[in-house]
């Protein structure tokens, strides 16, 4: 371990910038966006410097730590606010700050007409700061702070245009769904503390080797719940589609660099727990497999370009989660797919933003068509991202996705064949829905609104898209050449250097199968969407109808959780009103009624007072007489 003093700048810089821009308010309107972008870029530069410094060190010394201060010291609970930059963290730092900076640059133009652009950039920086704290924390508790910060920043950004009630609701939905996952993370931390007496990654790793299987499975399951919340995995995935309410750069940031990658990071970081608990691993694989197909199916039916891409993210993160569940060899491939996905998905989201920018914020793909002629650069960058997500060689997705499919097949037995088939099927559906997006948007006939005058976006918008497109082309090859990323991450995620020596199927066969499936998917989409009606047809298959409604996930949540929850609260409120309040009101009522009756005695007539006195005396005498008798 190397002691470093520079790690704090990763978090302090964007946090400071965010606070500054928020506190200065309108005074910073003129330069706020430039400042925030420069801060984000400088964080990326520090990241690059740290990356090369890390390469200069060898073995154990590669990981760097920095103790900030003693945070909590209560009895046996000792938590330091500390940062840890190791081979895994640096991947995320570079991805977050790199893609984040590109998105900052893009947003300068995209948000130029918004009067709250400065606030937007403040939130973007807050997002970056929170996400960096998440990946740099050296204990689960530090991670948790970043985790919550990411939740807050995403809430602020998704609901950035909160003057529209639907957008504010979407932000709330994302926040609530995330809170469900957060409960999982906090429970996992509590279990880890009771079991191991510490919450640092190193301490938990040490304790995990001697812990009971039940405890490890419990921690693993809770961590998976947390990951499902942040990474929009089944069953907490419903917020992702609605999160498209935020400005498009936010979607790009959430889907590529921050937020949804947090779950993959959490599981990869906790590899020592999942490796020790096959049950937890199995759960991870199942969740990943379900989400992979779930997202892909939803993607096939969405007409909203951003929602189609969101469903695609869900599906691709499903691939990553599935890979993390495949044991020590899976983690590196999950991270590789995460990085390549970061490039091509950010590129495609920015491309979608560029299209919307030119089409008066129209998101319905049925109103697009033939845009490649008016937006050649957007079409080209989007197209490169498209080829990458399909997994066409030599684009980035080919290397990462094929590795995951291969690993899934190799995981052994029936499970391996099943998982391999699911990932293959997912690849086919991915090809179908992405081709659908391409065809509907960029080729075919014009189906524009009369008022639309599409035009290519300015340089400051297409430059980041081009940079990301280069990443979509090259990152896979670079990360895979000589198993660069696998070897790089090996000390963190695969200490025992496990590799599958025997393959169920030779890699070349897997690649050919994947490419065949992809080709079929593309062919179906191309044939099916030769003509596109402007209004979505109603007489479609049941599965399409279901997919249009997010496979009834919202209806399910509403029927199972929301309505009963509302009924429960309504019942409790009613009970409170009728029983608790009723008792209190009854006491008051009795006093009031008896008082108003007793008051009648005080009628002000001397004679009636005298009569009462006489009667009282008679009663008294009678009582005395009775007693003495």
């Amino acid at each position: 371990m190397t002691i470093s003093t520079n790690l704090i700048y990763f978090i302090a810089l964007p946090l400071f910038s965010s606070g500054l821009l928020l506190l200065l308010g309108r005074k910073a309107d003129k330069w706020g966006h430039i400042f925030a972008t420069l801060v984000s870029a400088s964080v990326f530069v520090i990241g690059v410097i740290e990356f090369f410094a890390m390469q200069g060190r060898e073995g154990e010394a590669r990981a760097a730590t920095q103790k900030l201060f003693e945070w909590i010291s209560v009895g046996s609970l000792q938590v330091d606010a500390g940062l840890l930059l190791d081979q895994l963290s640096i991947c995320f730092v570079l991805l977050i700050s790199g893609v984040g900076t590109l998105i900052h640059i893009y947003s300068i133009a995209y948000m130029s007409h918004d009067r709250d652009r400065r606030r937007f950039f403040a939130y973007l920086n807050l997002f970056i700061a929170a996400m960096l704290l998440l990946v740099l924390g050296d204990s689960y508790l530090n991670l948790y702070v970043g985790w919550e910060g990411v939740g807050l920043a995403s809430y602020l950004l998704i609901g950035f245009w909160n003057e529209k009630p639907a957008y504010a609701t979407a932000a709330k939905k994302a926040f609530v769904a995330n809170r469900v996952g957060d409960v999982g993370l906090s429970l996992a931390i509590m279990i880890a503390f009771t079991q191991f007496g510490t919450v640092t990654f190193a301490g938990v790793k040490e304790g995990a080797s001697g812990a009971s299987a039940g405890a490890l499975t419990a921690i693993g399951a809770m961590l998976l719940l947390a990951a499902a919340g942040k990474s929009a995995q089944f069953p907490l995935q419903s917020w992702l589609g609605d999160a498209m309410a935020g400005p498009t750069p936010v979607s790009a940031l959430i889907h590529a660099a921050t937020m949804v990658t947090a779950g993959v990071y959490l599981i990869t970081r906790s590899n020592f727990i999942f490796d020790a608990s096959p049950t937890a691993q199995l759960m991870v694989v199942i969740v990943g497999a379900i989400t992979l197909l779930f997202g892909a199916l939803i993607g096939t039916a969405k007409d909203d370009i951003k929602k189609a891409l969101a469903a695609s993210t869900m599906s691709q993160i499903g691939y990553m989660i599935l890979a993390t569940g495949l044991g020590p060899i899976g983690y590196a491939f999950a991270i590789m797919h995460l990085v390549t996905h970061g490039f091509f998905k950010a590129g495609m989201f920015l491309g979608a933003g560029s299209v919307m920018h030119g089409m008066n914020d129209e998101v319905n793909m049925r109103r697009y068509g033939a845009l490649r002629k008016v937006m050649p650069i957007t079409a080209a960058t989007f197209g490169l991202g498209y080829l990458a997500i399909l997994g066409v060689p030599p684009f980035a997705g080919f290397y990462s996705k094929d590795k995951i499919i291969e690993t899934a097949f190799d995981s052994g037995g029936i499970q391996g064949i099943l998982l391999g088939s699911i990932t293959l099927l997912g690849a086919g559906i991915t090809a179908f829905y992405m081709t659908r997006v391409m065809v509907l948007t960029f080729t075919g006939t014009k189906r524009w609104d009369e008022k639309a005058h599409p035009h290519e976006s300015p340089f400051i918008m297409w430059a980041p898209m081009a940079a990301l497109a280069i990443g979509s082309v090259a990152s896979g090859f670079l990360l895979n050449s000589g198993s660069a990323l696998v070897n790089w991450l090996q000390p963190v995620v695969n200490e025992n250097q496990e590799y599958h020596s025997e393959h169920l199927l030779p890699p070349i066969v897997v690649s050919i199968m994947a490419l065949t499936v992809v080709a079929i998917g593309v062919a179906i989409a191309v044939l099916k969407y030769r003509t596109v009606p402007v209004v979505a047809p109603e007489n479609v298959l049941g599965i399409t109808k279901a997919a249009r409604k997010d496979l009834y996930q919202d209806s399910f949540n509403e029927a199972v959780f929301m309505r009963p929850g509302q009924k429960l609260t309504a019942g409790l409120v009613n009970t409170d009103y009728k029983v608790v309040d009723g008792l209190v009101r009854l006491v008051g009522w009795v006093v009031q009624i008896s008082a108003s009756n007793l008051r009648n005695i005080q009628n002000g007539y001397v004679r009636s007072y005298a009569l009462i006195m006489v009667l009282g005396v008679i009663a008294l005498i009678a009582a005395v007489w009775m007693v003495t008798l």
Binding site: Q602, N603, G604, Y605, V606, R607, A610, L611, V614
Partner: protein
Amino acid sequence: MDISNYIYLSAILFTIGAIGVVVRRNAIVVFMCIELMLNAANLAFVTFSRIHGNLAGQVTSFFTMVVAACEVVVGLAIIVAIYRSRRSASVDDASLLKR
């Protein structure tokens, strides 16, 4: 003559006085009824004094008379004052404290 007849007379006088206080509206009459009750009490005191051969009862009746004299002075003054201001000697009209 049986001495207990005095007690009966006292009780009857007291009852008449009490009923008069409750039933009559004229303040003067109510006042006279109160005097009647006081004197009925005096009669009872004197009678019991006689029965028990103890002077304390007779002394008490003197005290009662003195108190009754004072009470008449104050009470009549009040009645006259009320009559002057309200042109009525009815006790039912003097119910201002009620509201």
